[in-house]
C-alpha cells in the first residue's frame, strides 16, 4: 500500500544530518555544559554553537538572547507568564488573538488567576487579525501583546509587522509564537519588529523536545524554572545537549534550504487547495487562500466528521490531522475554526494536510484519488447529508 505522511504540523522526520550531529552527544560527549573540565567543555561549545545557529535563522545578532527550552509550548509559557509577571507593576492587561495556540491561550488564562485581565482580538473569516483591532484592544495598563506568526491549524500568516508598529507606538512588549513558521517561512525578528519570539525544532526536521525563546535584551522576564544559572539564569536545569545540538543543526539547514523548501511545497499546496474542493464538492478551504504556510492545506468537508475521515485516510496509508471535537481530547470543536465564524457543524468536518520536504506531486494525486470515495462513503452514512438532500439542495 502507498504510504503518504501529511501531518508535518504534528511531527517532522529528523533530517539525517541532524541525527548525525546529535549522535556524539548521546555517546562520548556526555559532559555537563556547566562543568569546567575536558568533559564539560565540548558540551558547552556545542550548546553555544547551536545558540548561534538558531540566532542566525531568525536574524538575531546577539546569540545570548536565545533561551533554549524543551518545546514550543514551554517557550510560549515562559514568554506569556514571564513577560507579564515581570511587568505587573506597570499594568495587568494582556492582549492576545482569539486563535492562539493553547500554550499561549492557557498561559494567559493562568495569568488571570494572578489578577491579569485578558483581551482576545477577533479574526476574520480567513483567520486573519486586523491590526486595528489590536490597537482598539490596547488599554493604559496593557503590558503584553502576543499574536502568533502563523496558525498551525489554518495556516494563515498574520500581519506581525503592522501589529508590532502599533505595539511600539504604545510602548508595549510584543511576543509572537513563530513555532509554525520558523524553518518553514522567512522569520526575521528585525523585520517583524517583535520583542520576543518562540520556536520549536520538531516543526522543521529537528528533534522533539527542542525549543527556544528569543527575548530582546533589555526586555524584562521572570523565569518559570528556578535553580541554577543555565541559559543565563532564564531557565534552570541541565541542558538537553543532544536536543539543543539537533535544533541548532536543523536551524542551520533550514536557513540554507528555506527557499527551495518553499518553492517545492507551495505548488503542491496550491494544487491540493484548488483541486480537492473541485473533486469532492461542499468543501470549504480554511485559512487565507494565499497568505498561508507553504505546506499547509486545510479544509472543512461538509456533512461529515473529521475523525472518521482521518481514520479512513489512515486505512489507505495517509496520515493527516483534524480539528474536529472528536479528535481533540477536550472534545471541543476547534476554537480557531469557531473564531473564524464557522458553525460547529462545518467545523466538525475539519481535515488538515500539512506537507513536508518528503512529499511529492504523486502524493497529492493519491489524496485527490482516494478522498472523493471516502467522503462519499461517509456522506451516505450521514443524517446531515440526508437532510440536505431531502431539502432539495443536494446532488
Amino acid at each position: 500500500m502507498k504510504r503518504v505522511y501529511m501531518d508535518h504540523a504534528a511531527a517532522t522526520r529528523l533530517l539525517p544530518e541532524v541525527r548525525e550531529a546529535m549522535l556524539p552527544y548521546l555517546a562520548d560527549v556526555f559532559g555537563n555544559p556547566s562543568s569546567l573540565h575536558d568533559w564539560g567543555d565540548p558540551a558547552r561549545e556545542a550548546v553555544e554553537n547551536a545558540r548561534e545557529q538558531v540566532a542566525r535563522l531568525i536574524g538575531v545578532e546577539e546569540p545570548e538572547e536565545i533561551i533554549f527550552t524543551a518545546s514550543g509550548s514551554e517557550s510560549n509559557n515562559l514568554a506569556i507568564k514571564g513577560l507579564a509577571q515581570a511587568q505587573q507593576n506597570k499594568g495587568k492587561h494582556i492582549v492576545i488573538s482569539a486563535i492562539e495556540h493553547f500554550s499561549v491561550l492557557y498561559s494567559a488564562r493562568a495569568m488571570e488567576k494572578a489578577g491579569f485581565e485578558i483581551s482576545l482580538v477577533p479574526v476574520d473569516k480567513y483567520g486573519m487579525v486586523n491590526p486595528e483591532d489590536v490597537r482598539k484592544a490596547i488599554r493604559k495598563d496593557t503590558v503584553l501583546i502576543s499574536v502568533m506568526h502563523a496558525n498551525g491549524e489554518v495556516g494563515t500568516i498574520q500581519p506581525i509587522k503592522e501589529i508590532s508598529e502599533i505595539a511600539k507606538e504604545n510602548r508595549i512588549v510584543f511576543h509572537t509564537d513563530a513555532v509554525a513558521t520558523c524553518g518553514n517561512f522567512p522569520v526575521n525578528v528585525k523585520e517583524l519588529g517583535v520583542d520576543a519570539l518562540s520556536l520549536a525544532g520538531n516543526q522543521f526536521y529537528g528533534p522533539k523536545g527542542s525549543g527556544a525563546l528569543w527575548v530582546r535584551r533589555g526586555v524584562r522576564l521572570i523565569p518559570l524554572i528556578d535553580g541554577g544559572i543555565q541559559e543565563g539564569g532564564w531557565r534552570a536545569g541541565t541542558e538537553d545537549v543532544p536536543a539543543i545540538v539537533g535544533l541548532g543543526k536543523a536551524a542551520e539547514i533550514a536557513l540554507k534550504d528555506l527557499n527551495s523548501r518553499m518553492q517545492k511545497l507551495i505548488p503542491l499546496r496550491d494544487k491540493l487547495l484548488k483541486e480537492l474542493p473541485e473533486k469532492v464538492g461542499h468543501v470549504v478551504v480554511t485559512g487565507h487562500p494565499q497568505k498561508r504556510l507553504p505546506g499547509h492545506a486545510s479544509f472543512c468537508v461538509e456533512f461529515i466528521e473529521g475523525e472518521s475521515m482521518l481514520m479512513l485516510l489512515n486505512s489507505q496509508g495517509v496520515g493527516v490531522s483534524s480539528g474536529s471535537s472528536c479528535t481533540s481530547r477536550a472534545l471541543k470543536a476547534s476554537h480557531v475554526l469557531l473564531a473564524m465564524g464557522l458553525s460547529h457543524e462545518v467545523a466538525q468536518g475539519s481535515i488538515l494536510f500539512t506537507l513536508g520536504v518528503g512529499n511529492q506531486t504523486e502524493d497529492i494525486d493519491y489524496i485527490l484519488e482516494i478522498m472523493p470515495p471516502i467522503v462519499k462513503r461517509l456522506r451516505e452514512m450521514s443524517p446531515l447529508y440526508a437532510k440536505y438532500v431531502k431539502a432539495g439542495k443536494g446532488e
Binding site: I304, E305, C326, T327, E345, S382, P383
Partner: protein
C-alpha cells in the same frame, strides 16, 4: 497502541445496517453537531420483534462503530429485550471504548430507545 479495539475498527470499516427504512415503525434521533455526533435510528417491528434496523450517523469512528453494533444487537430482539441494551453492554460488545469517547459517542442505545418510544407512541 491503537486508540480503538479491533472490534471497533471492524464495525467502523464495515458498518452493518447503514441506511434508512421507508415507512419505518419508529424513528429515534439523538445528539447534535456541537458535541460532535448525531445518530438517527429507524426500526421496523412485527409481532413485537424488531425485524429490521437501519441507522445514519454523523460522527467519529466510535460513533459509527457504536451505531453499527447497536443495530446488530437489536435486530431480531423483542421490544423488551431491545430495551435492555445499555451503553455499557454496547461498549463491552465492542471490546471497550476509549474513556473520552464513552459519553459522547456511545449514543446508539439511546437512539434505539427513542425509536422504540416513537414506535410505542404511534401504536397507542
Amino acid at each position: 497502541m491503537p486508540v480503538y479495539s479491533e472490534k471497533v475498527m471492524d464495525h467502523f470499516m464495515h458498518p452493518r445496517n447503514v441506511g434508512e427504512i421507508e415507512n419505518p415503525d419508529g424513528v429515534g434521533e439523538v445528539g447534535n453537531p456541537v458535541c460532535g455526533d448525531m445518530m438517527t435510528f429507524y426500526i421496523k417491528v412485527k409481532d413485537n420483534v424488531i425485524e429490521d434496523v437501519k441507522f445514519k450517523t454523523f460522527g467519529c469512528g466510535a460513533a459509527i462503530a457504536v451505531s453499527s453494533m447497536v443495530s446488530e444487537m437489536a435486530k431480531g430482539k423483542t421490544i423488551e429485550e431491545a430495551r435492555k441494551i445499555t451503553p455499557q453492554l454496547v461498549a463491552d460488545e465492542l471490546e471497550g471504548l476509549p474513556k473520552q469517547k464513552y459519553h459522547c459517542s456511545n449514543l446508539g442505545a439511546q437512539a434505539l430507545n427513542k425509536a422504540i418510544d416513537d414506535y410505542l407512541s404511534k401504536k397507542k
